[in-house]
Structure formats: structure tokens, C-alpha cells
């Protein structure tokens, strides 16, 4: 087993910032595209979905990290990572839904259909697996998950703004609907390449 990497405060900030901007899950790693295109039509929906994603990412990391290091690795079951993580995340999201429905019905109504949607979201699985492959310790993993969730939030909010502007625009007939949305998504994605290299020199 490789050594876990530990970070000081500066290192954690760098992890957070790079997860939000440089390694943005949607715009740079192209994970979680489905909700990005599907739920970004309106700002309130996009916000609801993003908050649900942040919540689930943090929760999933808090559960899968110990599973990896205290259950899978000691038994040489590292290769079962994907299956076990999917299983655990799915069960977890269902549990969260039940709890929310009982104790916080208003939040349950606000998150609505997005919570079950996240059960099979690849961004959530992606962030948990990436935390392991990067050898982050628990604190760094949680910060990375938070950053990834915030990055998703940022992408969703930005893109819902872009889409609301596109609705008013004069789009050629052949580009209406999904085509122009994909073109706009790629341009937003390209704009995020501008952040590459910023983080390395954040504190120097």
C-alpha cells in the first residue's frame, strides 16, 4: 500500500481551488454531463441539483474512504472498489432520502427528483475513486469532494445563465435545442482551460 499524502492548510486550499477550477468535474473531466445538460435549463433547478450533488459527494466520500482503507485494502479486495462503491453510494442515497422525507420534508421537496438521480451519477463515483487513486488522506478527500461539488455547482449555475441567454437569442433552425446547447457547453468548457497553471502559483 502506498503512503497516504498529508497536507497542511495551504495544501488543502490548493486541493479545493484546483477541484473547483482546474479539474472541474463537468467542464474539464467531462463527468456528470447528463445532469449538466438535463437540469441546467432553469437557475433554481440547477441550484437544487448542485446542492444535492455537493451533499451526496461529501457523504459518499465520508463512507467510501473508510471502506477502502479499513475493509478492502486489508483483505486485498482493491479490485472490488467500483462495485462496492456503487452499492454503498446507492444505498446511502436511498437512506438519505428516507431520512430527509421524515425529518426535513421541505428539503426533500426542494431536492425532489434530483436525489435519486444522483444515485447513479458518475461524478459522485468519480470523486470517490479519484480520492483513493490520488492517495489523499481523509481530510484531503473531504476537501477534494467539497471542491468537486462546488465546481459542479459553479458549472451548473454558469451554464444555466448561458442557456437563459440562448433562449432569447436568434438561433438558426438547424441548431435549435440540443446542438446549440452542446456548442455552448464546449465553449464554456474551453473557457475553463484558462485556469490551467493558475493554481501552481497560487502561493508563490
Amino acid at each position: 500500500m502506498e503512503e497516504l499524502m498529508h497536507f497542511d492548510f495551504k495544501g488543502l486550499v490548493i486541493i479545493l481551488m484546483s477541484a473547483v477550477f482546474v479539474n472541474n468535474y463537468v467542464l474539464q473531466r467531462f463527468l456528470g454531463i447528463c445532469p449538466f445538460l438535463g437540469v441546467s435549463k432553469k437557475l433554481d433547478q440547477a441550484t437544487g441539483m448542485s446542492i444535492a450533488v455537493i451533499f451526496v459527494m461529501l457523504l459518499a466520500t465520508a463512507v467510501t474512504w473508510p471502506i477502502q482503507y479499513y475493509l478492502l485494502d486489508p483483505n486485498d479486495l482493491g479490485y472490488m472498489q467500483t462495485i462496492v462503491f456503487i452499492l454503498v453510494i446507492a444505498a446511502l442515497v436511498q437512506l438519505v432520502e428516507i431520512v430527509l422525507k421524515k425529518y426535513v420534508p421541505s428539503l426533500h421537496a426542494a431536492l425532489g427528483v434530483y436525489l435519486p438521480l444522483i444515485t447513479t451519477n458518475c461524478a459522485v463515483l468519480g470523486v470517490t475513486i479519484l480520492n483513493i487513486t490520488e492517495n489523499y488522506d481523509f481530510a484531503a478527500s473531504m476537501i477534494n469532494s467539497l471542491g468537486s461539488g462546488l465546481g459542479f455547482f459553479l458549472a451548473m449555475v454558469l451554464f444555466s445563465g448561458v442557456r437563459s441567454r440562448m433562449e432569447g437569442g436568434d438561433t438558426p433552425e438547424a441548431f435549435k435545442g440540443l446542438p446549440i446547447t452542446l456548442v455552448a457547453a464546449s465553449i464554456v468548457s474551453i473557457s475553463f482551460f484558462g485556469f490551467a497553471g493558475v493554481i501552481e502559483h497560487l502561493f508563490s
Binding site: L71, L87, K102, P105
Partner: protein, 274 residues
Amino acid sequence: MNGIMIAILSVTVIGIICAVMLAVASKIMEVKEDERFPAVRDCLPGANCGACGYAGCDGYARALVEDEGVRTNLCVPGGDAVSRCLSEVLGVEFLDVIEQVAVIKCKGDCSVTSEKMDYEGIESCAAAKLLFGGTGKCSFGCMGLGDCAKICPQSAICIENGIAHVNTRLCTGCGMCVSACPNKLISVMADVEKVLVTCSNTDKGALTRAVCTHGCIGCRKCEKECPTGAVTVVDNLARIDYDKCRDCGHCVEVCVTGCIMNGDFSGIHRAQEE
């Protein structure tokens, strides 16, 4: 071999733990739904046709449970039986459902009109309509490619002699065919009515006559002769106001092209009662 067993076992155990956890949680933290909801939902037919104006049967049931003001006679396909069931479950007064049937306002079959092209495209009215306004000489009429028949959940529509016919004895009046027709020929009306204008052509009489001998030419004879003033000709087409119509059938007798027709439109609900 041993490795596989450990892997299978551990995943199974994790799965069982998750399952037990979820089962326990859903039992302990069960949210009491309105106990009338399942009963209300069971009353409804479950076709999710949307005739009530809500998103499917679940939506209508939820609206009925949560809002006292929602009427119980909105499920037309279910008819009186559903309305009675709902009123019993909810403890409100029984409201009679006005049973409806779909009618096709075109009788331009191959004996009275003809095709203007040899259409060999996709077997769909919506597609054919895009090609020079449809296959028939009359661009208002039924093309007989059966978009309505395909969507009908009761298989109550058949295509014969080049046009669609509704078997009203099977029709529940859900109205799914209404939106399927690109020429908007289909409408739902109360199944107690007896007369129907079987034409939708709004061209001038001479033009209509040239493409279909059955079509309404807008001669206004029915309008003048109707004893209750229920028939009016708007845009060269006779229209019947069923609020005023007494089903005397006089317009059917005077109509020169025979496009106002008598018929028995009693739907499936009436058929079941008999």
C-alpha cells in the same frame, strides 16, 4: 478460488447490511401518506391518458386527496363507475360524468374523393401532411394513414376505405387521438348527441365540391332550417352548437351533400350499462 469466495462473500455481506439498513430505516421513518391515497388511486383506471387534465392517474389521485375542490367526475374514460368509487372513498357527493366519445369530422372515403398523389413515404399522417399538405385532394380531410389508430389505447379506431372510423362502442373518450391528428379532424363530444357535421373543409363551396362530393359547401340551408338555431355556418363550414341542439335530425334531412349525418355515438360506458 479462495479469493473469489472472499470477494463474493464480502460484497454479499455489504449488500445485505445495506438492504437491512434500508428496510429498517424505511419502516422506522415511514412517512404516513394520506391513507385515502391508495384507495383513491385504486379507483382510477391507470391508463395515464391525461383526460382529467392532471399528469397521469397518480397526479389526479394526489390532487383529489390534497385539494377538496377538485371534482370527482374528471375521469372521462372511467365513466360513472370511477366517479362513484371516488365519491364513496372521499365521502363527497356523486357527480355524474358526461361520457364522451371521439368523432372524426371527415367522411371523405374513396367513393367521394380521391388521392392527389401516389404517396410512398412513411406510413404516418404527420409525415404525409408535410408533403404538399397531405395525400388527399382535400387537404382538410382524413389521409387514412392511421396516426390516431396507432395511439388509441382501446384499438377503437380502424382504417377503412381510406379513412379512419371510430368504433364508439369501444371508445372511452380519453381524447389521445385528438392531438395525434395533424388535420385536427378528431374531437371528443358528449356521447348522447345524435348529429354530426362530417366535414372539416373551410374552403369555398365550389372548391370543396371539386375535391369531395361529400364535403360541406356552406350553402346555409341547415342554418336557415334549424328550428332551434343551433347550426351556424362559419368559414364555409356548418357547425352545431350542442347546447341548443335537440337532436331533431332536421338538418340531416335538408343537407344537400349529406355531410350532416345521423349516428349513434353512445360509447363504451353506455354499451356496458345496456
